[in-house]
């Protein structure tokens, strides 16, 4: 049951072969059994989940159930869910119980889904290895010595290990696609503005976007159908006709022009990753796609520009953690300023402090033009590279990460090296484009490799159809990590 797809589960629930209570209990039992090893969940509340499951069973019996009725879904612990602890992986919010629901949570409720639990993540989504969490690192189900990627590492590990059939994540610089790549799962970051950010704890507001993680492109489409949609409470939510993602899966890959960026296939890309990626591109060709070389000449500037823009926005967003309205407050202080400074010193971890301070610096008087405005100009050059590339192709294919998952601790003391590893994912966030990662093979030590597919703005349906066609012809997405199969 724990490897079943969302479509199979929905059918079994409707056919009464399975109840939501049985399914939810089974997933909770797997979490109970494996979470000690993986640390994928921060909060599980069986009572709450089972109450939702019972309600879903009643609706299923009446026949008025939504598309995800009775299906348990795990949520990254930065989506506020009323009455649930929402920690953002931080000591600052370790005891914060959300007083309202994020739009994404409301959408899953409306679709009838059961909230299975809140997944571990890098603190405030700042990290690429899930080692910055206040609640400890997550381990990769394919190899417990390896990181699962980050920042949505708990969601990715939960889906890979069959602790949840689907999960949500957020992607500011690769935080859905890179963990999907590292754990052999599928993850999609939608076009900026596709999924409401209302109730999603903010990191860098012009880059943050929520999206699904699952075990197939078909399941991603089902989840995105539930998550996407206009929300007037997010000023950047786009009011546009609703796409039907699951309904467009049959589109296939035939006739698609796949762009291969010259800059993606260089010595920066490990050989054990390049092999499976090129093999997957060959697979897309066999399905009727053609390939064309494209160029993204400013790609190498994306990581430097990102590490100005994202920290700048973070320093502003995280100024709200002042120990007054919610979150941690230091126990002892001598006055208001001292209360702020001690509260933030205790509440934030080292990576979050680094980014707040970089952001504070680049926004300060005398440095704003040289850093912040220059980064924003480079952001436009990077977006322009994609616009030019998409005049020659329909989709862009390449790696999601330059290597397979590395060992826990391997890059922990070298933040810059970890930042540079996000070179294939960050440009997409800067441009605001949709991107996804699907498994396409294995590299060193039997660790998974992900194929990144990038689409033009609002073109997720085409990306999902191509990925679905690939998965109809291959079985990489069906492989389960040994010990979790």
């Amino acid at each position: 049951m724990h490897r079943a797809s969302l479509a199979e589960l929905a059918r079994a629930l409707r056919a009464k072969e399975l109840s939501s209570v049985e399914l939810t209990r089974a997933q909770l039992a797997r979490i109970e059994r494996f979470n000690g090893k993986l640390n994928a969940f921060i909060t599980v509340d069986a009572g709450k989940s089972l109450a939702q499951a019972r309600a879903a069973d009643e609706r299923l019996a009446r026949g008025d159930a939504g598309p995800l009725a009775g299906i348990p879904i795990a949520h990254k612990d930065l989506f506020c869910a009323k009455g649930w602890r929402t920690t953002c992986g931080s000591r600052m919010l370790a005891d914060f119980v959300a007083p309202y629901d994020a739009h994404v949570i409301e959408r899953f409720d409306a679709a009838g889904a059961v909230l299975l639990g809140k997944t571990n993540m890098d603190e405030f989504a700042m990290g690429s290895s899930n080692e910055t969490s206040y609640f400890g690192p997550v381990r990769n189900p394919w190899d417990l010595d390896a990181v699962p990627g980050g920042s949505s590492g708990g969601s990715a590990a939960a889906v890979a290990a069959g602790l949840a059939p689907g999960a949500t994540g957020t992607d500011t610089g690769g935080s859905i696609r890179q963990p999907a790549s590292f754990t052999g799962t599928c993850g999609l970051r939608p076009t900026y503005g596709r999924v409401s950010r209302y109730g999603m704890v903010a990191f860098a507001s012009s880059l943050d976007q929520g999206g699904p993680l699952a075990r197939s492109a078909e399941d991603l489409a089902i989840l995105l159908d539930a998550m996407a949609g206009f929300d007037p409470r997010d000023s950047t939510s786009m009011d546009r006709p609703k796409d039907a993602f699951a309904g467009a899966l049959a589109g296939g890959a035939k006739g698609l022009r796949i762009g291969l960026p010259r800059e993606y296939f260089t010595q920066d890309l490990a050989q054990d990753v390049a092999g499976p990626i090129l093999e997957a591109v060959e697979g897309l060709r066999r399905l009727g796609a053609t390939t064309v070389e494209v160029s993204l000449p400013n790609q190498h500037l994306s990581v430097p520009a990102y590490y100005v823009i994202a920290p700048a926005e973070a320093s502003s967003n995280l100024s709200r953690y002042d120990g007054v309205r919610y979150g941690h407050r230091a126990a002892e202080y001598s006055g208001l300023d001292d209360m702020y400074a001690k509260t933030r010193a205790e509440g934030f971890g080292a990576e979050v402090k680094r980014r707040i301070m970089i952001g504070t610096y680049v926004l300060s008087h005398g440095y704003y033009d040289a850093y912040y405005l220059q980064a924003q100009r480079i952001r436009r050059l990077i977006a322009g590279d994609f616009a030019a590339a998409f005049r020659k192709c329909d989709l862009i294919a390449g790696p999601a990460a330059p290597s397979v998952a590395y060992d826990l601790g391997a890059k922990k003391d070298d933040p810059v090296q970890m930042y540079l590893d996000d070179l294939y994912t960050i440009p997409i966030n800067l441009a605001g484009l949709p991107g996804m990662s699907i498994p396409c093979g294995f590299g060193a030590k039997g660790r998974p490799v992900g194929l990144q597919i990038v689409g033009n703005y609002w073109d997720e349906a085409r990306m999902l159809a191509a990925a679905h066609a690939f998965q109809q012809a291959t079985d990489w997405h069906l492989r389960a990590p040994p010990g979790f199969d």
Partner: protein, 94 residues
């Protein structure tokens, strides 16, 4: 290169108290990050309009009307210290 004094000044601006050994490590890592960021400096971007946001459309405005119900009690339940519906902070005016 940021000096130790600059690091301490940034920490003050960011309202983060630094402990001694932490300062040294931060100074090193902040300078590492700034060296990465410096790669942008030589790029000629004259005439390029800064891009603050992926959406070129102007932000939507809404009616200036009440849309939320009163949630004060629920919101204040999460606060470290409240009294009579007010958030309490250390005394700032003697």
């Amino acid at each position: 290169m940021l000096s130790r004094d600059q690091v301490l000044r940034i920490a003050r601006l960011a309202r983060i108290e630094l402990a001694g050994p932490e300062t040294e490590a931060l100074e090193r890592s902040l300078n590492g990050i700034l060296a990465l960021v410096e790669r942008m400096a030589r790029v000629d971007t004259r005439g390029v309009e800064p891009m603050s946001h992926p959406e070129e459309a102007p932000l939507r405005l809404r009616e200036d009307a009440v849309t939320e119900a009163d949630g004060r009690a629920a919101f204040q339940a999460a606060a470290p210290q409240v009294e009579d519906g007010l958030y309490l902070v250390p005394r700032v005016v003697e």
